[in-house]
Each structure stands twice: as structure tokens, then as C-alpha cells.
């Protein structure tokens, strides 16, 4: 039972689940998307990215790449929402934010798929 692997897996899956939680719901309805959840999703995604540093294998490189993609998209969503300011509840703004978080969600799925593949082939 490797503690490091537990933490690694925990944060990757937590990142994906929080991202999904924010994303799910009507795309243009601000009541369906909680801004606290976007905030926690960003934080956990950043932590997951930092945990992926330093792995020199091919799979490690792809892990890091997916994490960076997710980070960029979530941070872009946060910036759009902050920049919208008072008109933050407008459908156009919400649609932009949610679609970006959807893209980040796909990146997180890819990361989790890689994690599952790695675990299954290395069963010990």
C-alpha cells in the first residue's frame, strides 16, 4: 500500500469529479453552476499538476500535459467570469465559462483514463 500512489490518485480523481460537478447542468443557467465549486476545482487541479512534476517517463509527460490543459481552461473560465463583473449572470458569460470548464473536464477524463491504464497493467 503505497501512500504516495494513494495521494496521487486521490487528487487526480478529485480534480475530475469537482470539475464535473461544476460543469453539469444547463449551459446557460447561472443557478446550476456554483462559483465556489469552480474555485475548489481550480485549486485541486493546481495541486494535481504540481504532483505530476518530475516524472520522466512518456506516461508522466502525457499526465502533465493533460493537467496543464485543464488548468489553463479552468483559469480562463475564472478570468472571464471575473472580468464580466456585474453582467456575470448573463447567459453569454455563463455559456463561455461552462464550455471552458467542459473542455477542462475532458482533459481530466484523459488523465484518469491514463491512471487506470497504468494501474491495470502494473497490477501488483
Amino acid at each position: 500500500m503505497n501512500l504516495e500512489k494513494v495521494i496521487f490518485g486521490f487528487f487526480i480523481i478529485l480534480a475530475m469529479t469537482l470539475n464535473f460537478g461544476f460543469f453539469v447542468g444547463d449551459i446557460d443557467n447561472p443557478n446550476h453552476h456554483l462559483h465556489y465549486e469552480l474555485y475548489v476545482a481550480i485549486v485541486v487541479n493546481l495541486i494535481a499538476t504540481i504532483l505530476k512534476f518530475g516524472d520522466r517517463t512518456q506516461i508522466g509527460a502525457i499526465h502533465l500535459a493533460t493537467s496543464l490543459v485543464a488548468d489553463i481552461q479552468l483559469i480562463a473560465a475564472a478570468i472571464i467570469w471575473a472580468a464580466a463583473g456585474d453582467s456575470g449572470a448573463n447567459p453569454e458569460v455563463i455559456v463561455g465559462v461552462v464550455s471552458l470548464s467542459g473542455g477542462a473536464f475532458l482533459a481530466n477524463i484523459t488523465s484518469v483514463v491514463l491512471l487506470i491504464y497504468e494501474t491495470v497493467t502494473l497490477r501488483r
Binding site: 465556489y36 485549486v43 512534476f53 518530475g54 471575473a82
Partner: protein, 553 residues
């Protein structure tokens, strides 16, 4: 690397969520919440200790409590992260990797002919200085970091790529450009004979046709080097012995030799005449043996003083170090004409000579200088002949590297008479001045002297004097003296200026640095050269050439 970044993200996250959840009050007292962006903004200028102010409204007490807590949390995390990142860039392993990579890149981008010098001690630094003055590129490998720093602080004309590594290691030699087609030769000048041997073996195995010069002091190692074909083996003691013999019987040849192998621009001292008579030699090591051998060849009477006769295989010598007056008197210092202080300790040498001069002030003094740091003592003392092994090796290497014709010229000059050498010197001084001249080779080939070859093809007669003409004034010569012509297998010393130039000729020229670059330019410039040779101005423009061709038909 991960820990500080994680700490930063987590501390920011905790502080941020607190700012968002704790309500503030606006100007009418209504509770409002900060947005995430406002909280992030406040946190940014708090964590980096900039500190603007409380926006959008002054904080409530609860907010200020949370603010205090975040200050301590995030500022510490921020400083820790920055400190770690800075120390990462100062990691010595990273620095070394960067240095080695930039060295390799400098070598690959070196598109000029260069020499690889292994060992940057006293010999190496003197040689690099001389090569740099001669506009030849150099790459240095040296095992001692301090000497590499010294190289970095010396002001050379060209960039000298250098690496602090052990040259015995063939990987280091390959990294330093052994296989680079621009490498013209390797000089092994470390103070360890076996290291020099290892370098010579590596070079001769990897690139056998590359010129290899090695410094060696032990005869066994020298024989070993010669066996696998090291091109030039330089034994400073043997060379000094030969020089001393030259100084005894042909001073002019010696002076010519010194002149042509010094660093260009240096002032060469006039060598004093070596007296014939009784000589005393203190120290029968390698230096002493070489000196005794050459002085005995000149039929001088020699008495040897040696502190360890068994260790040095000295047969008939007076036991002692020569520092005490009574030992010198036993050797007959009163009726001697000259003394050689040749031990490997500078202070002992100076002490021997000072003691000797007290007894017999008219002695001719030959002293061996080992370390360049004792230079002030020796220059103040001003002995008649000061022998420094590193200078001798450097000048010997220089004569092989500057132009292969120079070594051949020096060998031939030794067979000429003393008065011939004096005549050459007089001619050089008249043309070039009192300082040591530059020496270079001129090849009459389409790649090196294209204008000359074109004129020869057109059927003009080019004489040697045409190669020396000054473009500013068509009748005066540049400050150059051609001292040797190599035509096929034939070597002609001091060719006559009216001689005809043929394609494939090689001339060894001696002269001022500015004259060298002017001549180099001129030999490839068709317009100027044809005017100087034929007196006709060639047209510069296409239309001009067209009109000239029309006129000729």
C-alpha cells in the same frame, strides 16, 4: 521543487476561501461578500508584501482577523517558494551541466582553424598568449579550476573556449573538438608526463593524421611517445642545452631563432656573449645534464656540484648544494668564468648565484627559473641568461604551430654560418623594426591568393616583389621580408626579390602585423593586384567591362 509550490497553492486556497466567506459591510452597513476575483486581488498584493489597501470598503473586524492570519501564512509560503527556486538555479550540478553544454556549442560554432591545448599552466598560458597574438584560435582544457578562472580574467583578442576537465579522459578530448575538421593540432602541455602520454595515445588512435605536440621531461616516456608516432616531442632541457650551445658558438643564429619564435610585438633582448673557460654547474638533474652535455661539446671545462650524486648518477662531482661558499671555493670559483644554477628550487638558485658573485663578481651567470611567480626576483637580479622551461616549450610549440615552414627554416638556419644569421637579422630589423615580427605562410593557390593565380593564368609575369607591394604607393614595399621559398621539395632561403612566382609556391614571410593583413587582402583582390602588376586599371562595373571587351575586339 514540489513542496514550496504545493505550500503556495494550499496557503492561497485557504486564505482565498476565508476572504470570500467572511462578509464585509458597504458604506450603508449592508453585508456584502467579496467576489473571488476581489479576494484574489487582495491576496496577491498581500502575499507579495506590496500592500495597497482594503477594497472595496474598509474591512470589518472579522475580515481583519482573517487578513492577519493570511498575511503570516501566505508571505511565509511565498518567500519559501522564491528562496527554493533561486537556490535551484544555483545548484552546482546544474551550473556544471550548463557550462559543459555551452562549451560544446562554442566548439561546434568554431568555424576557424584552431589548436587544442591541454594544460593551462605557465607553458599553456604563454603559448595561448602567443597564438592569440598570431590570430590563431585556441581551445583550452585544464584540470585546475583556479587556472581556468585566470584564463577567464585574461584579456585575449579572441574568445578562448575553455573547459575544466581532465584531458586524459578521451571523452573530454572528443567534447573539446578532436573530431572537428577545423582542429589543426593538439598540444599536451600538462606538468605530468604520463598525462601527456595518455593524451598523445588518445589523439593518435582517434585521429592519426592530426598534428600532436607533447611536452615531456622523462626520456623513457619520450621514447614511448615516439614509438607510436607523436609528431613533435618537446623536452625543454634538451632544447635549452641546444640553445646554450648555440649561444656559445653562434650567437647570431641564436638571436634569429629567438626573434622568430617570440610572441609578436615582444622585445627580444640582445643575448650576451658566453665566455669560454672554466664553468661550474650546480645541480645535475635533467637540466644540469643537458647543460653539461652541450657545454662539453663546445670544449668547455666543467666542474659539477651536486647534493645527491647517487640519485643523479653523477660520476665526478663535488658533493654539496652550492649554497655555501666553501663548496664553491672547492670547485674553484675564483678562476671560473661562468656559473650555472640549475636546481629545481628558485630560492636555492638565487642564493647560489648571490654567494658566487660575492666571491667572484665577474662571473657569467646562467640561472634556471622554475616558477613565474618569482619573476620580480629574477628580473631585479638580471642574470646573464635566465632559463624558464615553460617559455622554451611554448616557443618551440609556437614555431611548429604558426607555420610548418618555420620549423624547417629554423633547422636549415642552424646549418648556416653565424655571419649569415647576422645578415638576416640586420635585414629584418631594417624592414620591420626592433620588436619580434609576425611570421606567416603565403601559398600561391587559387584558394589563398586568387588574384595572383588569375594573373598568372592570363600570362603575366609575377615577381616576388609584386607580393610585397604597398597598395597605397605602388613602388614602395610593405614591411615584409620573405625568408624562405618552398617549391616542391626544394627549399630556398632568402629568395631573391626578382624571382618569378609559380603556382604552388609557398613563401615564409616575416613582418609587421598590419602588413600581413594588407598583403592577405591584396593577394585576393584582382583590381588592385592587376593595377600594381600591369599598371592598367580594370573597370569595376559590368557596363565598364562590357565596353572594355568591345574595345578589345
Amino acid at each position: 521543487m514540489r513542496a514550496p509550490l504545493l505550500l503556495l497553492v494550499v496557503s492561497y486556497a485557504i486564505a482565498l476561501i476565508g476572504f470570500v466567506l467572511i462578509p464585509g459591510v458597504n458604506e450603508v452597513g449592508k453585508a456584502i461578500h467579496l467576489t473571488f476575483f476581489q479576494a484574489f486581488y487582495i491576496l496577491s498584493y498581500t502575499a507579495t508584501t506590496i500592500g495597497f489597501g482594503e477594497i472595496p470598503y474598509p474591512f470589518t473586524n472579522d475580515q481583519r482577523i482573517w487578513m492577519t492570519f493570511s498575511i503570516y501564512l501566505t508571505v511565509v509560503a511565498w518567500f519559501y517558494a522564491i528562496g527554493t527556486i533561486i537556490s535551484l538555479f544555483q545548484d552546482p550540478a546544474l551550473k556544471q551541466a550548463i557550462t559543459a553544454a555551452s562549451f560544446k556549442r562554442a566548439i561546434t560554432h568554431l568555424h576557424e582553424p584552431f589548436y587544442l591545448i591541454c594544460g593551462y599552466g605557465e607553458t599553456g598560458s604563454e603559448l595561448v598568449r602567443a597564438l592569440d597574438k598570431n590570430e590563431l584560435r585556441v581551445v583550452v582544457v585544464e584540470i585546475n579550476q583556479e587556472r581556468i578562472h585566470e584564463l577567464g580574467m585574461t584579456d585575449y583578442q579572441f574568445n578562448v573556449p575553455n573547459l575544466c576537465a581532465d584531458a586524459k579522459n578521451p571523452d573530454v578530448l572528443l567534447c573539446a573538438g578532436l573530431n572537428n575538421p577545423m582542429c589543426q593540432g593538439v598540444a599536451a602541455l600538462t606538468d605530468d608526463d604520463h598525462a601527456n602520454l595518455a593524451i598523445a595515445v588518445a589523439v593518435k588512435l582517434i585521429k592519426p593524421e592530426l598534428r600532436m605536440l607533447a611536452r615531456v621531461e622523462n626520456d623513457v616516456v619520450a621514447a614511448n611517445m615516439a614509438s607510436f608516432g607523436t609528431d613533435h616531442i618537446i623536452n625543454p632541457y634538451k632544447i635549452f642545452g641546444e640553445h646554450l650551445a648555440m649561444e656559445v658558438n653562434s650567437l647570431g643564429t641564436y638571436l634569429l631563432h629567438q626573434w622568430l619564435t617570440s610572441v609578436p610585438g615582444d622585445i627580444v633582448k640582445n643575448p650576451p656573449a658566453v665566455p669560454v673557460g672554466n664553468w661550474i654547474v650546480c645541480g645535475y638533474g635533467r637540466f644540469g645534464k643537458a647543460v653539461v652535455k652541450s657545454l662539453q661539446q663546445e670544449n668547455l671545462n666543467i666542474r659539477i656540484i651536486e647534493a645527491d650524486p647517487k640519485g643523479t648518477n653523477c660520476e665526478a662531482c663535488i658533493v654539496g648544494s652550492g649554497v655555501e661558499a666553501h663548496v664553491l671555493q672547492e670547485a674553484g670559483i675564483e678562476d671560473a668564468v661562468g656559473i650555472v644554477a640549475g636546481t629545481d628550487n628558485d630560492i636555492n638558485n638565487l642564493s647560489i648565484v648571490m654567494t658566487a658573485l660575492e666571491i667572484n663578481p665577474n662571473l657569467f651567470v646562467v640561472i634556471r627559473k622554475n616558477r613565474r611567480l618569482n619573476e620580480p626576483l629574477f628580473s631585479h637580479f638580471n642574470a646573464d641568461i635566465t632559463m624558464q622551461p615553460s617559455d622554451i616549450i611554448a616557443h618551440a610549440c609556437l614555431s611548429y604551430m604558426v607555420s610548418p615552414m618555420l620549423a624547417a627554416f629554423l633547422n636549415l638556419s642552424r646549418m648556416q654560418s653565424n655571419s649569415w644569421a647576422n645578415a638576416v637579422i640586420a635585414r629584418l630589423v631594417m624592414a620591420v623594426g626592433e620588436k619580434a615580427p609576425d611570421t606567416w605562410g603565403v601559398r600561391i593557390l587559387p584558394t589563398h591568393a586568387s588574384a595572383i593565380c588569375q594573373l598568372l593564368e592570363q600570362g603575366h609575369t609575377i615577381r616576388l616583389q609584386h607580393l610585397l607591394l604597398n597598395p597605397a604607393n605602388g613602388t614602395e614595399h610593405l614591411a615584409i621580408v620573405p625568408i624562405m621559398l618552398v617549391r616542391g621539395d626544394e627549399k630556398i632561403l632568402l629568395p631573391d626579390l626578382n624571382m618569378e612566382v609559380q603556382p604552388g609556391d609557398r613563401y615564409l614571410c616575416c613582418g609587421e602585423d598590419s602588413a600581413k593583413s594588407t598583403q592577405n587582402f591584396l593577394l585576393n583582390d584582382m583590381r588592385n593586384m592587376s593595377y600594381l602588376v600591369t599598371g592598367l586599371e580594370l573597370p569595376e562595373t559590368y557596363i565598364g567591362r562590357l565596353l572594355l571587351r568591345r574595345k578589345q575586339h
